[in-house]
Amino acid sequence: MDRLTMEHLLWIIPMAPLAGSVIIGLLCALSPKRGSFPSRTFVAMVACLGPLTSFVVACGVFLALGKSSTVATIHQTLFSWISCGTFSIDFAFEADRLTAVMIMFVTFVGTLIHVYSIGYMGHDKGYARFFSYLNLFLAAMLVLVLGSNLVLMFLGWEGVGLCSYLLIAFWFDDEAKAIAGKKAFIVNRIGDFGFVLGIFLIFTTLLKSGPASLEFSFLAAHANVLAPVATVAALLLFTGAVGKSAQIPLYVWLPDAMAGPTPVSALIHAATMVTAGVFMVARMHFLFDLAPFAGQVVATVGIATALVAAFIGFAQNDIKKVLAYSTVSQLGYMFIAVGAGAYGAGIFHVFTHAFFKACLFLGAGSVIHALHEEQDIRRMGGLLKKLPVTGTTFLIAWLAICGIPPFAGFFSKDEILWSVFNTWGTYGKVLWFLGLFGAGCTAFYMSRLVFIAFFGENRTPSPAREKIHESPAIMTIPLVILAFGSLAVGFFGVPAALGGSNLFWEWLLPVFGAHEVHAEHATEYLLMSLSVFAALSGILIAYVKYMRKPFIAAEPRGIAAFAAGAFYVDELYRRVLINPLVALARVLLFRVVDVVLIDGTINGIAKAASVAGSLIRTLQTGSVRTYLYYLGAGAAFLMVVVYLGRW
């Protein structure tokens, strides 16, 4: 596979899942007897074929880029999308080394999760609809990643948002789940508004110095033109990332998004979509490089999110909620990295996180499946013995997220901490320390989850207890593959200090440029051992607290209750933002603008027509004679006008 061949095949990557989505969706909608046709086997085959095709082509792209020069890109223009005067936007895909990494893991993890879903959703009546949405999501995500300009990226950005909404509210007959879907959609709108403003700002700034384009290559080449507005533009774009990647203050939608089916949580709300914000910042790195203040804001928001989400994670008892807050927290780490300019480290964490978090979520799904929709860890316990495969894979992913070497999470998290330690002097050191503390917290809440759910005595009430069974192979095989990934993918980024050659960093070097770090290996060893120490102490505290004595479910008190209620941020938003907005809408927008202005105008026009009609109607008497009088009067009037006016 050489580069020129791939230039003709790039379109397949997003279009294969799209085709799957359309085929399944149409067959499902057109089938005369709901549910009988298309058959489940057929749907499963089509649904998995699309992502698999994309994965194969993505591998081709990756290999082709590996053989080309380091700055080479693969570009394919499909058609001119928007054309207006000198301004035009092509529907074009472009793959550079950053994109290649993204499409590789998105399609790989995506394919595995599709396979897993065959088992997990096996008994659901919305089987075909589920796979249609899931394929559509993958297509949108790949458009987001592959789009060669900001507008096409935004198309994918909105597409994944739509699919996220559709899949969170997948079981829409449960009102709470439908509301969770709406919440995700609306909260994302706030962020997307900032994103759009950022695009506008970039475009208008570029217009001042001649013809403008929104192609990434053009933007990167004209970054100096953007310098005066770089901070504002970067912060506006980051607003979009805050919404999509669930950072403070817009993270509230992600925990609620757990209402969706668990494979959705794994694919969309852990591995791929929520990392789109990190990807976007990395993609626009030339802009963030020009705006050091924006970078500091990004990193500060990141560390705040990482810690707050970790604290909330301490007290959650729903297995998916713990993982959701863990995702929010890990996304915070990614933003610390990209904020500090260590884009490679951020993307590396995106990459490793996709494996171990997908593994954790799918493992949680397997547990929920085995326990017949039980999600409360207080009613689990001892699952390692009952579910050996799920349990083992979960433990591997747990070690990965805790940052125990040589699991994947250790390398990526350590690289983030190492990068931030060497940036911004004292402030970087503060961020590093907080990040280290956060890593300990991560290890604690994840260990708490593992010890309560997988060790000790089983506390599942009967009759579900007797029916606990290991999931079928179609679910456990993806788990095993992902667990292997959680163990292995870290070795792509072994730092030089440990005798590795950091392939991942070198691969991305032509995209981001060198993030120069001048420090002693000795310092690096010290920081590494501190990270491992933090992780181990987190695990140890959890061990002492939850393993030494049999687990007793107690009502949380004091600060724990506060954390269990997610710091009541939702309640705060409801009081401070939502209720005033609703009141404003009810009083001003509804009573005044809608009823008085809009309805008044429309009804007034109708009323005026009606009154005029009733006045004119009196002229129509039905008597021929009256009409003749009118005729005579009209003729006389015209004669007078003609003779007097001399027309």
Partner: protein, 99 residues
């Protein structure tokens, strides 16, 4: 006779027709008044044709005669029907079209 005299005569005849319609109530007088107005128009056609020295106006005069004959035929039929229904040819009370 000059063209002016012909036009004056035509105007006089036309207004006799208009006056007839406005003041009489019988449907027959309506028809007769309409005939008068049509004939005044006919007179104008012929007078101007003579003034111009060609035959075009005569052609239209023949058309109008044919039209007037047809109109009288249809009009009389309507009056007959109207009389059968109302036992009267007075049109003042016909107001159904206003309802």
């Amino acid at each position: 006779m000059s063209t002016n005299a012909h036009v004056g005569l035509a105007i006089v005849i036309f207004f006799i027709g208009v006056f007839g319609i406005l003041v009489r109530r019988s449907a027959f007088f309506y028809l007769m008044s309409i005939e008068l107005m049509l004939n005044s128009a006919n007179l104008l056609w012929v007078a101007f044709a003579r003034n111009r020295g060609d035959l075009d106006g005569h052609v239209y005069a023949f058309f109008i005669m044919a039209l007037a004959a047809a109109e009288a035929c249809v009009g009389l039929s309507i009056i007959v029907l109207y009389y059968r229904k109302r036992r009267s040819v007075v049109l003042n009370r016909a107001r159904e079209m206003g309802k």
